[in-house]
Amino acid sequence: MTLLTPGNPRKRTRLFTGLVLLLAVVFGFRLFAFQVVDAEGINKVSKANRSVTRTLSALRGDIVDSSGNVLAHSVYTYDINAAPINVQPVTVVRNGQEVILTVDQQADAIAKILGQTKQEILAKIAGTGVYSNLAKSVSAARYRALQDLDIPWLFYDPILSRTYAEGATTGSIVGFVGKDGIPLAGVERQMNGCLAGVDGQETYERGVDGIRIPSSAVVAQQAQNGSTVRLTLNKDLQYLAQNMLYAEVKKYKADWATALVVEVKTGKILVAAEAPAVDSNDFGIATDDSRKSRIFETSFEPGSTMKTITAATLIDSGLGTPVTKVVAPYKLRFPWGLVQDSHLHPSERLTLTGVLRDSSNTGIIKIGQVIPRQTRYDYMRKFGFGEKTSVNFPGEASGLLRKASDWDGATDKVSMFGQGVSVTPIQMAMAYQTIANKGIRLEPTLIDGCQDKSGKISSMPTGSPTRVVSESTAAQTMAMLEKVVEFGGIGHTASLSEWRVAGKSGTAQVQADNGHGYGYLHAVSFIGMAPVEDPRFVVAITIYKPRTISTSLGATPSFRFILKKALLMYGVPPSTTKSKPLQMDW
């Protein structure tokens, strides 16, 4: 062969050199293709394989009470998942010894931690799938217990959840957040703009072992945690009230009960308790009715607690005084129907104070009918009826107060004792706050403000104070209400031996379940304030549809208990003065 002919080395050298050059050119082209032509695409694929984009979850802010006690807090819970395809016996170390756990034993151990049966777990890990959820939103303690099992086919997804340390104590006010993180009710919903943070995002590269490549992290956006919402509630007093209401609802077989404690001079709501209430940790099991805050969302005819408003209107209009006299019969007949008192009695010679003491329907009509209906309507509006409070709670009701021109003959009369109009518990409590606060109505406050990380509080806008009645009218009305507690048949059961107390009962007829007329059940209530000489708190109790009692005697035990706890908790000294005499009969 010519090429291999010895003696022709120059040819061979040239050929070899040519081949090398050819290879170099080919490699050069490929290199050029990789480094220049396809570089961008290759880089992109490479980076995609090693880069990770991760959401930096922002924590939702806390909800705290007036003393900073945490009522709602964000924690991590864990979704527990399995890869059924990998389920097999595993070797684990127990007490320093290697032991083999069968699938059955593993399922049994998991079931015990998750509170499920072994059969349920076995059903979930059956098959050859790569994903099966065993449980959602499991607590950190259970997650830790599962991790300690060392089962390689279990994997965990952390989920940001809410926990409510006080459970149903503040459930109806604080509200709750859905599993998807969407606030569904209460302050959680109302103050979402303050509570919700802004998620961040970071991108970094990781090696084949999953370890982050140094200096590769690019934080596109830092997470911003949510701020704290501070409420005006006192969680300890709230609990005492709530526990009392639970006992009373059970005792009276009532539909529900509410209790409010309002600070007279500030309008701050210290207690907004109700029973039954939603446990925010487990809102799924609550009834629709229990998930809402009845204090703000439910309106009903209040009954005789409205007589206080009628009496204050009468005095402030200059049409009567606490000693204006009236003869109150047992019943009054009108073209549209009959009005009668709660108990049979002969005609009684009463003053306006006596009318309130005995809670006489006929007496208040006979005295109050001198007030023009437009005047009464205007005063009721000034007392805050017929419109939402400035709390603007989600789903808050405005109650029903028709224009005076739309009142029929019955509404004109029965509205004097709280029928034919509907109010929310918070509206009626604030009307009594007006009387206790020398005639000036404050807007109720439930939320102190939104507190950022630096501690700066952005206060919530509140309505301006409204002069509703004169200071003199308020004082005279207070004096009459004190006589109700001193001498009233029901009223005296609301008295406290250490403090001077004023208040008024209400026993209202409520709409029948079929929507036609009134049923046989009532809404019983008692609203009052103490100490009379310098009122600190208004306490308003409502028990809706009690079945073992039909008078306000059902509301006064809760009233006394909660009022006394409030006075003690806030260190209000016992009264050292006594009430002045006031004529009640003639």
Partner: protein, 178 residues
């Protein structure tokens, strides 16, 4: 006439002298550059190793932080549960606690006592109510050994006949430090 006469010159061979070895400046620069590059590469290698080590350490620390955060969450839940009013109410009842419903105030301005000091006394209606308010977050409860509830035998059952503090004309004794 001049004569040109050849003069014999002593014959000597040219001497080869070993010149001192002088590196060319280019070579020196080249060597310096190479050494520098090698040094930089070595330093870079060492730093790279250290950084990589740091990355693994950071990953370890993050894992530790996760474990500690989980422990913190577990403990917070336990503390929250034990501190809840529901648990406190149940504990108080288990221990047979009785609230004293006769408040007494000491008025600092005139050192007078407001209210009648009385011992708390026991009957079933005065005992702290057991908890009735639901709380699914109450996963940990205080455990008390069986405590004998107070009875009329070991708790005052009647109002004390007289005030239990020493008073001077209904006022507190004046403190010498007042």
């Amino acid at each position: 006439m001049s004569v040109i006469r050849a003069v014999a010159q002593p014959f000597s061979l040219p001497r080869l002298v070993a010149l001192p070895r002088v590196a060319s400046p280019r070579l020196r620069i080249g060597i310096t550059v190479i050494i520098g590059l090698v040094a930089i590469q070595m330093i870079q290698l060492v730093l790279g190793i250290l950084t990589e080590q740091g990355a693994y350490q950071m990953a370890d620390l993050k894992a530790q932080r996760h474990v500690l955060t989980t422990s913190s969450d577990i403990l917070s839940a336990e503390v929250g549960s034990l501190a809840s009013n529901q648990n406190l109410a149940n504990s108080a009842q288990s221990l047979g606690m009785i609230p004293n419903s006769s408040p007494v105030f000491l008025k600092l301005s005139d050192q007078s006592i407001i209210g009648k000091p009385m011992a708390a006394y026991f009957d079933s209606t005065h005992q702290v109510s057991r908890n009735l308010v639901p709380n699914a977050a109450m996963t940990t409860r205080s455990k008390w050994s069986a405590v004998a509830l107070p009875t009329k035998a070991n708790v005052a059952t009647v109002q004390p006949a007289s005030l239990q503090v020493t008073l001077i004309s209904g006022k507190l004794p004046v403190s010498p430090t007042h």
